[in-house]
């Protein structure tokens, strides 16, 4: 009997150890996977994989950067002169157009004549720029010149100001507006939620009567259980028009609206965690302080708050985490415009919203897919910095305080 008991204990112990190890390994693997997928981006060509740009070999332009390519295909640059070439109008040619010129039969079985026909088109038009798959590229034909393709650079990614991941032929992956958007929305949200949340927590734990507390605490905890998409819908239908009217804006979907909804969502977390921490202050300490003649406010300010500093900082970190990673509500109320934010009252696009909105249709393994993973890495790094900072601050306070 005793032996069976011991064996049972052993197995339980080992199960606990294994589950702990498995969890840590899983988390580590997720992080490794995230970074592995994300960093692949810098090996992808700046033009879509498997495609290249071709011009007539009489063309004097030998090199185009990503911005130029975009301007050409958006018809903002219409003459080769502007790019250092000859004075002639740019003729844009997309691969699909070949099927308007020739029928499938004329292109031969399995498209064997396709490169030849593409070559003909390029030779006939000295002012052409053609965006073609390399598989059918007219490479061996005289009179056709391929433009060299470059890889996406780290500088373009982190310093770029335009996020247009589906622009053809050359997508733009500038994450600066997304990072700034995320930071602005969550910082303002925390600035709103923190004083309010701590205030309510102090009120509930120190000042409120037993009956009020018993009623309010479950109500607030209930708020944490509302699905974020419901908050988002509430934000879109109620908050957006209010913000638009109060501030006299032309668009109601702004960074500030996002912050408001995030603040509302972060409040329950902050309140419950901070309140629990405050209430954990031993009764002896409060009574000692009061016995020394301190008023109730002095006791709260000098004894209770310093004692529960680490718990309060945990509340802050959880609140910030909630604000940073929140996806659905922000997706619905911030307008999701990937522009550099100049003020609080402009639409912004956040990192989580971008990932959620775009991952579904990004082709697996492509540059767009990898860039979304890299965005995930950035978010991970930001939240890590936040939690480490909070940890350091709370430790410092603990040392110098009680």
């Amino acid at each position: 009997m005793k032996r069976i008991k011991r064996i049972l204990e052993r197995t339980i112990e080992s199960i606990l150890t294994v589950s702990g190890a498995v969890t840590s390994i899983a988390i580590l693997l997720i992080v490794i996977f995230l970074f592995k997928e994300g960093l692949g981006l810098f090996k992808s060509p700046s033009v879509e994989k498997g495609y290249s740009l071709y011009v007539n070999s009489k063309n004097t332009v030998n090199d185009l950067d990503v911005e130029d390519i975009k301007h050409i295909y958006d018809s903002e640059v219409e003459n080769w002169k502007e790019l250092g070439g000859r004075d002639q109008e740019i003729k844009i040619f997309r691969f699909e157009e070949i099927f308007n010129i020739y029928s499938d039969e004329e292109l031969g079985k399995d498209y064997s004549l396709l490169p030849e026909k593409l070559g003909e088109v390029i030779i006939q038009n000295p002012n052409i720029i053609a965006y073609l798959p390399q598989q059918y590229a007219p490479t061996d034909i005289q009179g056709v010149k391929a433009l060299p393709s470059k890889d996406i650079s780290i500088g373009d990614f982190f310093g770029g100001r335009e996020w247009m991941p589906t622009a053809t032929p050359s997508p733009l992956f500038g994450v600066l507006p997304l990072i700034l958007g995320t930071l602005i929305v969550s910082i303002i949200a925390i600035l709103i939620a923190l004083p309010l949340g701590l205030g309510v927590a102090i009120y509930l734990s120190e000042l409120a009567g037993e009956r009020t507390r018993k009623l309010m605490k479950p109500t607030i905890e209930l708020l944490a259980g509302i699905p974020s998409v419901v908050y988002g819908f509430f934000g879109l239908v109620v908050l957006v028009p209010i913000v638009q009217k109060v501030f006299g804006l032309s668009v109601g979907e702004t960074a500030f609206t996002g912050s408001l909804i995030l603040a509302i969502m972060a409040l329950p977390t902050i309140i419950t965690v901070a309140e629990d921490a405050l209430r954990n202050t031993p009764r002896d300490m409060r009574e000692a302080s009061l016995a020394l003649g301190a008023t109730q406010w002095q006791t709260i300010y000098k004894v209770v708050i310093p004692y529960s500093a680490s718990g309060i900082s945990a509340a802050v970190v959880l609140g910030i985490g909630r604000a940073m990673g929140e996806t659905m509500a922000v997706l619905m109320v911030t307008g999701n415009a990937a522009v550099m934010p100049h003020s609080l009252f402009e639409p912004v696009r956040t990192i989580p919203a971008t990932i959620a909105a775009e991952l579904g249709e990004a082709p697996a393994g492509g540059a767009h897919y990898q860039s979304l993973f890299l965005l995930g890495c950035i978010l991970f790094v930001i939240t890590m910095i936040v939690s480490i900072t909070a940890e350091v601050i709370s430790k410092k306070q603990l040392n110098k305080g009680v």
Partner: protein, 271 residues
């Protein structure tokens, strides 16, 4: 007891996989396929059809891996996808099951009621910025777009913007419902939605594709007689070898009762 349950489940799955037809792909076509599948099930008791969404691209790649029998798509199959299918020894057959018209909508208080394709291109690429330039009030234009993952986004870009990119930092909404909501509460807004989503909160604009000679109002009748220009076909793709398996369902969609469901869902029937 347990055994019987397990065997029934096993038997059920086997019969299901024998007769079941799987449809996967575009979220635009999803409500239509679901409705048709329901009434098809009622008409043919033995057959079951399972319908899932995920996007046109998802459906076509599922066709490639053989995890679906029919791929529903709100756009034509791309050349790349055709190539991939060919490499896998498969040939996709295309069937147009319905048409979908896109309506351009503005806030009900907006005075502008007609727009040409060129003006729409200017608005959505960011070249036209004020309603004043279009004969309206002095008010900033706020264009709303769908997210990049949407087939509607791609179609509008190809068809109306002639493949030019949307303006940098356009407002993008995750769903058509959100566009309707936003346009109805923002005075300077303009957006594009499927015909089925037209409601009182927004005003549809008449569109001209011949530089302003004739303007046509979006409606099922105008889409059907081909006078309304922003219309896209909705497709079913299937592998030619599994034709026998899917034929009866596709015939059902194209039949009179199938096409009746098409108009009920808000799309335009093919006949």
């Amino acid at each position: 007891m347990k055994k019987t349950i397990l065997t029934t489940i096993a038997l059920f799955t086997i019969t299901l996989s024998l007769n079941a037809q799987r449809i996967k792909g575009s979220d635009t076509v999803l409500p239509l396929s679901q409705k048709v599948a329901e009434s098809y099930k009622k008409a043919n008791l033995k057959n079951t059809v399972s319908v899932t969404g995920g996007g046109s691209g998802v459906g076509i790649s599922a066709l490639l891996t053989g995890t679906t029998d029919i791929a529903q798509a709100s756009r034509k199959i791309k050349f790349d996808e055709k190539q991939k299918l060919q490499k896998g020894g498969k040939t996709a057959k295309e069937v147009i099951i319905a048409y979908d018209a896109l309506a351009v909508v503005v806030h009900p208080s907006n005075k502008v009621t007609i727009l040409t394709r060129e003006q729409l291109e200017g608005i959505f690429t960011g070249k036209i910025k004020n309603w004043k330039e279009l004969g309206g009030e002095d008010m900033k234009i706020i264009p709303y777009s769908r997210e990049t993952s949407s087939g509607t986004y791609e179609f509008f870009k190809e068809h109306v913007l002639k493949n030019k990119n949307y303006k940098n930092g356009i407002l993008s909404m995750p769903a058509t419902g959100a566009i309707v909501q936003s346009v109805s509460q923002t005075k300077g807004a303009i957006g594009y939605i499927g015909l089925a989503y037209l409601s009182k909160g927004v005003k549809a604009v008449s569109v001209s594709y011949n530089s302003g000679k004739t303007y046509t109002e979006p409606s099922v009748a105008n889409a059907k007689n081909k006078t309304y220009p922003i219309v896209r076909p909705l497709y079913y793709y299937y592998e030619i070898k599994s034709e026998a398996k899917v034929k009866s369902f596709i015939d059902y969609v194209l039949s009179t009762s199938g096409q009746k469901i098409v108009s009920e869902v808000g799309f335009v029937p093919i006949k």
